[in-house]
């Protein structure tokens, strides 16, 4: 993972309200990978996503494609990191198409009714990639949870950023839809994007990610290929569970099994 890294972090620390949430996190991630970020509740997963994208000020350095995060303007950062927050909040009932078009905001396309041909193509590509064209004109508030999260994903894809940060994109989705989301992110990663996904689902992480980061109490305690990063020792130590382990169709299968 360290050859030609796209995103590097050195000694990233975050203190919120006097409490250290991230302590000295260093990592180096390359383009074209789907990285799963796992850890118990309160381990600092969301905080790490925010610190990596500059949404939260942090100690230490983050570099994206060789540029220090601190030297980039808000707009430049927005072009490089597409951020998918938890919950897919949409406050006004806008048509799905306009939500997806907001993905072009960092590129200066602030008005969905006046997109350049380039921006229009990016929006249509993103909508086709996650198959939301059929409800492009419907208000997002009228869509089902699964449809709405696909629209949210399309919005993130439309940024066409080198890094996608997705915070629990599969939470509260049914199994089929969870696989659907992860497959879309996998395809996106395969197209050369660095995708970092926060998830509590060890099984999905093992199945789809090619690199896993394990956080505990703000520290990066394990990383590597799924089967290595989520070794028996890590599962016992970090999650205090044992897991059923197998291999199926040449993918690691890790199913949380019993508490310890």
């Amino acid at each position: 993972m360290t050859e030609n890294p796209l995103l590097t972090a050195h000694g990233v620390s975050v203190t919120l309200a006097g409490r250290p949430v991230l302590r000295d996190v260093s990592l180096s991630l390359a383009a074209g990978h789907l990285v799963a970020l796992v850890g118990p509740n309160g381990a600092g997963k969301t905080t790490l996503l925010r610190a990596l994208s500059g949404l939260l000020p942090s100690g230490g350095n983050v570099h994206i494609a060789g540029d220090a995060l601190g030297d980039l303007s808000l707009r430049e950062r927005a072009k490089r990191f597409a951020y998918l927050p938890q919950g897919h909040v949409v406050h006004w009932p806008l048509p799905a198409r306009d939500i997806v078009a907001l993905g072009r905001y960092p590129h200066g396309a602030t008005d969905p009714a006046r997109l350049s041909p380039k921006d229009t193509e990016a929006v249509l590509r993103a909508m086709q990639a996650v198959d939301v064209m059929e409800f492009a004109e419907r208000r997002v508030t009228e869509l089902s949870g699964g449809e709405r999260s696909r629209v949210a994903l399309a919005r993130v894809l439309a940024v066409e950023a080198p890094v996608i940060l997705a915070d629990e994109p599969t939470a509260s989705a049914d199994p089929r839809h969870q696989i659907d989301v992860m497959k879309n992110l996998r395809v996106t990663a395969d197209s050369g994007v660095l995708v970092i996904v926060v998830t509590h689902d060890i099984g999905l992480a093992a199945r789809f990610a090619d690199h896993v980061l394990v956080l505990r109490e703000g520290r990066l305690v394990s990383q590597g290929a799924p089967a290595d990063a989520l070794s028996e020792a890590v599962m016992a130590d970090v999650f205090r569970i044992s897991a059923y382990r197998a291999e199926y169709q040449r993918e690691a299968v890790i199913v949380p099994w019993a508490d310890l």
Binding site: L94, I99, Y105, T110
Partner: protein, 347 residues
């Protein structure tokens, strides 16, 4: 759905918005003509146009251009800035119940003006009044920002705004309470009701620059409101400096509303009602709501100001009273309609 169908739907939505905006502008134009024609001497819209452009009798020219034009311009501009401020705050807070009074700026502006009247520094037609109102509106916004902090959440802003408007109301009451001159108290009480009667071009010249500056500032932020649809954090991730946006919007609202309150007293609920009236026509996009909300605000205040001149009564009905009488039940209706969302604690 095909690419062509998406583009066609986009074009259709754009045509609809232009149509609605044009219709609203025409309505405002018509109301301006009626407003200029209504009064002790009734003039038809045609003779009003004639008088405006230097035709007709000298008497009708004086009536239209010197007596009624300032009042009409103020109704137009104040209605517009109230509608625009309401739509902007609703966009900023992503809350359909937001309105300028939420930040306590109008109440504070009124307090500033009342203080000037009570201290006998000036009478209600002097320059000191608007200056004090604008200064107080600014002071309240600065206080709000200091209390809430730069990166405060919206809940803190709303609570701080509530506290400040309560304080301004209490301070206004105290000033009236302590005043030894019953005529001054009466004058204040009437001024607080909100009116556009007997306003001159001096009033227009004092309010208009601030209203215009506020309107330009608010309108320039329209696309950031659309990004805020996805919440503050996502808007920030899209490149919107949310902390700065909040500051800019509050400044725009303070300028516009402070200038407006200074010459008209408090005219409430236009800012709340206007965006709601246009949403069914043009959709919920907070950026597209700004211009139609401003036009609707103008139309509402012009219509209310025409109505107070038409309603037969023994004494003058103040336009601020009329907008509140109509606005408060509407506000309650909105609370009832939004009850589920509000109770659900949608952030």
């Amino acid at each position: 759905m095909s690419v062509q169908a998406v583009r066609a739907a986009n074009d259709e939505a754009a045509r609809r918005r232009i149509g609605v905006t044009t219709a609203l502008a025409a309505l405002v134009g018509l109301l301006v003509l009626i407003s200029l024609g209504i009064g002790p001497v009734r003039l038809s819209p045609l003779s009003v146009i004639d008088a405006l452009f230097g035709g007709g009798s000298d008497v009708s020219q004086v009536i239209v251009r010197e007596i009624r034009l300032p009042r009409t311009i103020l109704a137009l501009a104040i209605g517009a800035i109230l509608g625009l401020s309401g739509a902007s705050l609703q966009g900023l807070l992503r809350n359909p119940l937001a309105s300028p009074s939420l930040f306590g700026a109008p109440q504070s502006a009124a307090f500033g003006a009342v203080l000037v009247i009570a201290l006998g520094l000036a009478d209600v037609r002097s320059y000191a009044l608007p200056v004090a109102a604008i200064a107080a509106a600014f002071a309240s916004v600065f206080a709000l920002l200091t209390i809430a902090g730069r990166n405060a959440g919206l809940l803190i802003l709303i609570l701080a705004g509530l506290a400040i408007s309560s304080l301004a109301g209490a301070a206004t009451a105290l000033v009236m309470n302590l005043s030894s001159n019953p005529f001054v108290v009466l004058e204040i009480a009437f001024w607080l009701l909100g009116s556009l009667e007997d306003r001159s071009f001096a009033h227009v010249m004092l309010a208009l620059p601030f209203i215009t500056a506020g309107a330009i500032i608010l309108f320039s932020q329209r696309n950031a409101f659309r990004a805020l649809t996805l919440g503050e954090e996502t808007a920030q991730s899209l490149g919107v400096d949310v902390g700065r946006l909040r500051l800019v919007v509050i400044t725009g609202v303070a300028l516009g509303v402070g200038g407006a309150v200074a010459v008209s007293g408090t005219i409430a609920f236009i800012g709340l009602v206007a965006p709601h009236l246009v949403r069914p026509l043009i959709g919920h996009d907070p950026a597209r709501l700004l211009m139609p909300s401003a036009l609707t605000g103008s139309a509402l205040l012009l219509a209310a100001d025409i109505a107070v001149r038409l309603i037969p009564s023994t004494s003058d009905i103040k336009v601020g009273v009329l907008t509140s009488i109509i606005g408060v039940p509407f506000f309650l209706y909105l609370i009832a309609r939004e009850r589920r969302a509000l109770g659900g604690g949608v952030a």
